[in-house]
Subunit: 209 residues, 2 copies
DNA sequence: CCAGGATTTGAATCGCCAGTCAACTTGGCC
DNA sequence: GGCCAAGTTGACTGGCGATTCAAATCCTGG
């Protein structure tokens, strides 16, 4: 029984992973059930055996991909001992294409898909809100942590700052994602740090790159 | 001949307007040719008589809508005499849902559609870049103007600031658009101004609202 | 009023793809 | 081994929607 359940879980997750990859490559709009099936090396019918509809599968795949990223991110944060370094890392991970190993570029493409869909699909809107809150929370946590350790000064509500800094990163990321030539990843990294330092109120050492 | 051409142009534009409205309401993905035709009170066939394909029509409609907005915006800017007031107005217009008359909320929804599509459609990617450059340019123009009049201090490259401020506004706008409860339009307006003042380097009078 | 081109129509075509289903396979259990 | 339930297949159905097209209709200049 345990193994049966395990089996199911694997298939389930395997499909979600395949779906996320296909969406990344072809875009939500161009993703067909059979693409996902091909990716799994499985027949199209099976996909619908595990998911009640294409729509629900797509929404789950999108949040699944984000969960994956968040888990890795979150585990990593716990190992970093200063708030400043946490912030650096968070920004590093947020810049599309800066770190090849994280495929962050793809992450952002998925975010945009989530946004479009959330505009009209209540299920996705709700999921999106959760993901978003979690992300802002992470930033706020770093700020609170930095205040505890004395790295950052007291100041505005950490939640509020999380929102502001998160939004700024979003906007910059879009620019980088779209406009590869005009706005380079490195530049985004620099600007993000500058904005964060001014909003949080810590001193930024002069240019390091 | 003049009237014939005029006729054509009207139909052409009429279709673009209808398309933009339909896209706003239903989303790019759910927009059918027949929806657009219905909106014009015309048969579906006619749409394809004026546009070579649905795809091209959609791309044109998206840029058309943005042009419309930009024209209004641009005309308005010319009438405003101080850079600071121009900036205020620009931000006011950028906040989704702050000013009902501009339907700016819809504008932003269209932007997100543009982004998604630009990720994979080269034609749209090119259009997007033009629209984006123009918008950043507008911000840079305000900054340069403010420096001429002495309202703003000299400092970083105006183009660079246009990029940074533009990106920040993008990110904030998404938050407002998605998260109506968490991040209110008024709050976005305030934050945008604060960020702009710090980046440009002018003094912001204490809270005005 | 007429010819001829520009518009407009709406029915017909065509391909595509989500979702269904009946049959087949597999693996665990008695 | 034989049985059952869970997994899996792939052919099939249905509907949808972009495009095409031949037939109206409208307009304009002559």
């Amino acid at each position: 029984m345990a193994s049966k359940t395990r089996q199911q879980k694997d298939r389930h997750q395997e499909i979600l992973e395949a779906a996320a990859r296909v969406i990344t490559e072809r875009g939500l709009a161009e993703t067909r059930i059979s693409d996902i099936a091909d990716r799994c090396g499985v027949s199209p019918g099976l996909i619908l055996y595990y998911f009640e509809s294409k729509d629900r599968l797509l929404v789950e795949a999108l949040t699944f991909a984000n969960d994956q990223f968040y888990l890795r991110f979150s585990r990593e944060m716990r190992r970093i001992k200063t708030a400043r370094e946490q912030l650096d890392r968070l920004i590093e991970l947020s810049v599309p294409g800066l770190l090849p190993e994280y495929e962050r570029l793809d992450e952002w493409a998925l975010w945009i898909e989530i946004w479009v869909r959330a505009l009209r699909d209540p299920m996705m809107a709700k999921e999106r809100e959760v993901l978003d809150r979690r992300w802002r929370q992470s930033i706020a946590d770093i700020i609170r942590f930095g205040r505890e350790t004395g790295e950052f000064p007291a100041g505005w509500d950490a939640e509020e700052l999380g929102l502001q800094i998160g939004a700024t990163i979003d906007g910059l990321a879009i620019q980088v994602l779209m406009n590869d030539t005009v706005f380079s990843p490195t530049r985004m990294q620099r600007v993000s740090l500058e904005v964060a330092s001014r909003l949080i109120g810590f001193e930024l050492e002069p240019a390091e790159a």
